[in-house]
Structure formats: C-alpha cells, structure tokens
C-alpha cells in the first residue's frame, strides 16, 4: 500500500518540480515585467508544492531528505510526465502548457481533499487558493490571446495541438493504481482526466480553440515508469549543479 502511495506522490511532486523549474527559466525573459513577475511567482509556488509532497514522503512514508531526493536521483527514478520536460520554446507553448498543467492540478488536488490518505487532505486545502490563481491567470491569457488577431489565434491553436497529447501524459496511471482507487486514496487517473477535459473545454470553447479529437492523438506515456524524453537529463544536470557541488552544505 505504501509503495502505491509513494508512486503517486513521487509522480505528482516530480511533475511540480520539473514544471516549476522549466517555468522559472522564463524569469527575467517574460514578455513584460508584470507577466514576468507573475509567472516567476507561480513557478516558485510549484517548487513549493513539490517540496510539500517530498516532505510527506519523508515524514509519513520513510522517504529520504527532500533536497537529496529532488536533486540526487538518477534520471530513471524520476516520475514526471513528458509535458513538463519539454523546453520552453515560445511563450505561446509555455502558456498553453501552463493552462493544461494547472487545470489538471486543480482537478487532482480538488479530489485529494477527500483522500483516505490523511496527510493529503490539509495539503490539498492549503494549495487550493494558489492553484485557483494559477488557473485564473492561464484562463485570462488564453481568452486574451485568442482574440488578439489571426497570428495570435493560429499560434495558440498550434500550441494546443502540440501540448494536448503531451498533457494526456499527466494522467498516465501510476503503478498499482487499482489499489489506490480501491482504498479511496484518489479516484484514479481516468476520472481525473474526464473532469479535466470538461474544465478545459469550458474555457477553450468560448475562446474558439478546438481540442484535438481523442482518437487522433497518442498520449505521451512513459514518464510514470521512468521513461523520459531527451530533455530531462540536461535539465537535471543544470537544476542540481549547485546542490551537487556540496550535498552536505547547510543552506
């Protein structure tokens, strides 16, 4: 049972850590100062979410120190999805990814408020406000950029087409998912994905954006089992560079 919960929390935490790190790469380069600050601040929030989950792993499931766990694992031991690993590219891609990612977070944490695994309940309640802001921010940009002329609209639709199969990887079932569902830790990835599709449809549809048809796309699975894209290892090298110079240092 603990192994199953461990897999779930590691996947959630690694998603937040890697996505947070990617988003932080925009710091200082955002399109305008106000957006730079908002996006950087949300990137910090995500690292905070990852830290909170690593702490639960440490305290309730005999895990290791959060910093060591975050920075010193081998690439194969990470459980993040391929969506988070992708390089930032243009801002349209980063924004659409942020939109899809944070709505998935909103759905997931919303359901975890009722988790039978007690430590997740207070965490889910605590993060609710932050995630609400993240989705508000993403929604505002999606509706603005879809009405900002042809070029802008085409770019948003193209970014959505590219992100969507990757985003389905957020809902790749973790190992031993059946056990987690049976014991009411959470409702399972299929249920979360259904709810997520409803949520994003309600924003994308008024913005005139079309979700690719499910039968035309292949979900980018593999991350939850340790199979990653070529982009993860260079990210890990950079993210852990300072920590690895002296893992025993006290900050």
């Amino acid at each position: 049972m603990n192994r199953a919960i461990n897999n779930l929390l590691t996947a959630m935490a690694d998603d937040a850590l890697i996505q947070g790190h990617r988003n932080s790469e925009w710091t200082g380069l955002g399109p305008i100062m106000e957006e730079d600050i908002a996006f950087s601040s949300m990137a910090q929030d995500k690292i905070g979410h990852a830290w909170a989950l690593y702490r639960i792993l440490q305290e309730d499931l005999n895990g290791s120190d959060p910093d060591r766990f975050a920075f010193l694992r081998n690439e194969k031991d990470y459980r993040c999805c391929h969506l988070a690993e992708q390089p930032n590219g243009e801002y349209d891609f980063s924004l659409v990814r942020h939109f899809l990612f944070d709505h998935a977070e909103a759905v997931r944490y919303g359901r975890l408020e009722q988790s039978s695994f007690a430590p997740l309940q207070p965490l889910a309640r605590k993060l609710k406000g932050e995630i609400k802001y993240h989705t508000l921010h993403a929604n505002a940009w999606v509706s603005q950029l879809c009405r900002a002329g042809e070029d802008s609209y085409i770019r948003m639709q193209a970014a959505l087409n590219r992100c969507f199969p990757l985003a389905l990887g957020l809902f790749e079932p973790p190992e031993e998912e059946a056990e987690l569902v049976a014991t009411a830790v959470y409702p399972g990835e299929k249920a979360l994905q259904e709810e997520w599709l409803d949520r994003i449809y309600n924003i994308l549809s008024p913005a005139g954006l079309n979700l690719p048809a499910m039968e035309d796309v292949t979900p980018a699975y593999g991350g939850r089992r340790g199979y990653h894209t070529e982009y993860l290892q260079p990210l890990l090298n950079e993210m852990g560079a300072v920590f690895r110079t002296d893992p025993e240092a006290i900050w």
Binding site: E34, L136, A140, S143, A148
Partner: protein, 125 residues
C-alpha cells in the same frame, strides 16, 4: 539593420519589422495603465498602491495580484484604467487654499459624549 543591443527583451523586441523601424504603440491602442487599489481586510477602504500595465482589466487584476497582493495582508484588489480617472489640474490647487481657515467645518466641535453621558445617567435613575 541596426538592432538594439540591449538584453532587455522589452527594448530589443520593439524592433520587430524588417526595416528596423521601431513599432509605435499609441497610448491605449493595445496596452493600458491601470491603477491598483489594495484592501487589507474586509470592510476596510481600498487604498491606492500603484499601477500595472495590461491589455485589459481582467489581466490587470491578474497582474495586480502578484505585484501588490503577495507580501502584506490582502483580501481584495480593485483595478481601474488610469485614463478613466478624472482629476483637477494642478493649477486649480487654489480652490482648496482657504480650507484651513474654515474650522467651523471640522466635526471636532460636536460634544457628543456629554449627550451620551446625560442619557446614560437618566437611564440609571
């Protein structure tokens, strides 16, 4: 084309077209300045704290939250387009010049406590 060598994307992205001429964005054409008002607790006044630059009111509010609502206590924010604020000209300051002489307009002259005490006393008897 002579590109601006600044590393600040807001500067070097201004030269977007091939001829290298800066793109002119007229006041209010795409982006506006919005004044931000911060409320510290429910029922308190909203106080002016600064401004943000945004394409619409919704995004102004989104930006204001991170610019002005993330450090000290905040329960709500207002934003309003700076251009929608009507103000007096600075040279009309003389309209307010004699305020200090009109002390009879101050509320400090009312002796409310006397009345209250009298009322309390009458209740006891």
């Amino acid at each position: 084309m002579e590109n601006n060598q600044s590393l600040d994307p807001r500067v070097n992205r201004l030269q977007l077209n091939v001829s290298g001429e800066p793109v002119v964005v007229r006041d209010g054409e795409n982006w506006n300045v919005f004044e931000v008002f911060h409320q510290e607790k429910r029922g308190a006044h909203h106080e002016h704290v600064g401004c943000v630059h945004a394409p619409n009111a919704q995004l102004a509010l989104v930006f204001a939250k991170e610019q002005f609502g993330r450090r000290k206590k905040c329960v709500n924010l207002w934003v309003v387009r700076s251009a929608d604020i009507l103000a007096f000209n600075t040279e009309d300051e003389d309209m307010f010049a004699n305020n200090l002489e009109k002390t009879y307009r101050d509320a400090s002259g009312f002796k409310v406590m006397e009345k209250i005490n009298r009322y309390k006393k009458s209740g006891k008897e």
